[in-house]
């Protein structure tokens, strides 16, 4: 149980990164998310902006920053699609807020927890997306939960590889 709770000084520390990391990593996530489908075709089972949102929200442990980061990334992601702007924005806003709120309470350096969190938050983002798109706006959409499940798995796998790489850029106190 001790691994799950952030009850030590090390666990509740706030991760800080250079400004370039804050600027370039989300931008790279947006660009790669827009470019990689060209190579992978229909096997684009990941959402890099969501993974980045989860990572920074967990690390910063600030619900406001997580909310803003998720909102901005989601809105920009919406702007690259042909859908109404704000659907991904709302989904990632909630994901950023929840991730940061959870990050305050648990040990986010544990790989198992990171995997599980990414998986669950991906499904949460998909659910919010579907809710906003279909229920709130009343737009018709063919929805496949299998695809969302695969996407959540892909996000977890990417997080497993990406989080340690990003951890190297963490500023030490």
């Amino acid at each position: 149980m001790s691994v799950l709770t952030a009850d030590t000084r090390r666990d509740i520390e706030i991760h800080r990164y250079p400004f370039l990391v804050y600027a370039l990593v989300p931008l790279a996530a947006l660009v790669l998310q827009a470019w990689l489908p060209r190579l992978l075709g229909p096997y684009t089972w990941f959402d890099l902006p969501l993974v980045v949102t989860v990572y920074f929200s967990l690390g910063r442990r600030s619900p406001i920053q997580g909310t803003l980061l998720g909102g901005v990334l989601g809105i920009f992601q919406d702007a690259l699609t042909h859908h109404a702007i704000g659907i991904n924005g709302i989904a990632k806003t909630i994901v950023g807020y929840v991730a940061a709120s959870v990050g305050v309470r648990i040990d986010v350096d544990n790989y198992t927890i990171r995997l599980a969190l990414n998986f669950l938050l991906s499904l949460l983002g998909s659910a919010v997306y579907f809710f906003v798109y279909h229920i709130l706006l009343g737009l018709t959409v063919d929805w496949s939960w299998l695809m969302e499940f695969l996407k959540a798995l892909g996000n977890s796998a990417i997080a497993l590889l990406l989080f340690p790489v990003l951890d190297r850029f963490r500023m030490q106190d």
């Binding site: 619900p63 807020y97 798109y133």
Partner: protein
């Protein structure tokens, strides 16, 4: 006591951001009169600006990646090859690496050259004006199947232009930016293209489904639709010209929501997931080659005298028609017009009876030649004439009798004396 805004600032920021985005969504999505929500594709200026910013942010890196041709797959393969070569021999590794890089570059160039050549040949044969464009990026969301091309409004692109390849249709231009444009692919759920099945001539609307496959919807169940049938554009959507290849029928599925309808799954002719170069139809006015244009000009030149001759023939026939006797007598009522006469034509019946027969009277020549007395000849030819004319002359009267119920003269005015009728002579 902690102030309210400080204590709940996280939640308040969340709610404020959510509320702002919901208001933004409410301004974009409209509810139609039939109760369905729809997203107006023509954004207002504010939303359009956000798309412009996002495009300006993402397009340059995409363009850079595309221009350097540093594909992730190539990097991965080359990385593996390098590791393998280093284990074998370090000197050879460098040579192999250099040669492979060159070979890969040459191969890529050759492949791209072949693709461009095929595209150029297709473009030359195609009668519509097209513009070649390179695919530089996508939306990154499987709920929004769009991609970006490196041509924009500065190159003459406009919304709703059709995007095709030599294999088949790809989609339509949706958003146009100065140096790039967004293309909505036909396998998106919100896309729509009017299509027709080549053999059965059944029309439908092509769109994507949740699995990213293209399907024709709103088709009644029909046993004639079989896998393998070609699908073409119908041309009724004002975007795609008719007759362009769309794909082939892959399978037919029952519509789960409507029993009598089916969904026809179509395998697109164009490789939608491996697009590098596309053609944008910038003008649907036919663009014929020079030799065909010359043929058309010759045809137009030859058509002039033919039209003039045809008009002269028409004019001559009108003049002839005016000179010929008409079939309408202005002095008779409509029911007695000669045009309405149904009796068979009888030139003998129309022959006027001579009041004073002479030797020139038809039938009197033999009698005159025989040297008969004039007093007898005056009756006999008359009788002979009457006897010959009587059956014919009685025809109109008989036909008219049931209608009138009396010995009324026929409407045609055919002379029929009572004495000439054998019946009248028997029953005076």
């Amino acid at each position: 006591m902690e102030p309210f805004f400080v204590r709940y600032r996280n939640l308040l920021v969340l709610l404020a951001l959510l509320l702002a985005q919901m208001i933004g969504l409410a301004m974009q999505v409209r509810r139609t009169s039939v109760g369905l929500s729809s997203f107006d594709t023509r954004d207002d200026r504010g939303v359009r600006l956000i798309r412009l910013w996002a495009n300006a942010l993402v397009s340059p890196p995409e363009r850079f990646i595309h221009s350097t041709k540093l594909g992730a797959v190539d990097l991965w393969q080359n990385y593996l090859d390098l590791r393998h070569a280093r284990q074998e021999n370090h000197d050879l590794q460098q040579t192999i690496d250099r040669l492979r890089l060159e070979q890969a570059a040459l191969l890529q160039d050759a492949l791209q050259g072949q693709r461009l050549q095929a595209l150029n040949q297709f473009q030359e044969k195609y009668i519509y004006k097209t513009l070649a464009a390179q695919v530089i990026g996508a939306s990154g969301s499987d709920h929004s199947r769009v991609f970006n091309v490196d041509k924009g409004s500065n190159d003459g692109l406009k919304p709703d232009m059709a995007v095709i390849t030599a294999d088949g249709i790809v989609g339509k231009v949706r958003e146009v930016f100065p140096h790039s444009a967004q293309v909505l692919v036909i396998d998106d759920q919100t896309s729509g293209a009017g299509v027709i099945l080549e053999t059965t001539r059944i029309r439908g609307i092509l769109r994507g489904n949740a699995d990213g496959r293209t399907q024709i919807v709103d088709i009644l169940a029909d046993q004639r639709i079989q896998p393998g049938e070609k699908v073409l554009t119908a041309g009724g959507d004002q975007i795609f010209p008719r007759g362009l290849p769309v794909g082939v029928v892959e399978k037919v599925e029952r519509d789960p929501e409507r029993d009598s309808f089916i969904n026809v799954i179509v395998k697109p002719a164009a490789h939608l997931d491996r697009l590098d170069e596309v053609l944008v139809i910038t003008s649907t006015e036919p663009r014929f080659p020079s030799d065909q244009q010359q043929d058309m000009a010759t045809s137009e030149a030859l058509k002039g005298p033919e039209v003039e001759a045809e008009e002269q023939r028409k004019k001559a026939s009108e003049i002839m028609a005016e000179r010929l006797p008409g079939l309408i007598d202005p002095n008779l009522p409509p029911e007695q017009q000669p045009l309405n006469d149904s009796t068979p034509p009888n030139p003998v019946g129309h022959t006027a009876q001579p009041l004073h027969p002479d030797r020139f009277t038809p039938g009197a020549a033999e009698d005159q030649g025989a040297g008969q007395p004039t007093g007898q000849t005056g009756d006999q030819p008359a009788k002979a004439t009457q006897n010959k004319a009587a059956p014919d002359a009685s025809l109109p009267k008989k036909s008219a009798a049931p209608k009138t119920g009396a010995a009324k003269p026929p409407a045609t005015g055919t002379p029929a004396k009572p004495t000439a009728d054998p019946q009248s002579r028997r029953n005076p």
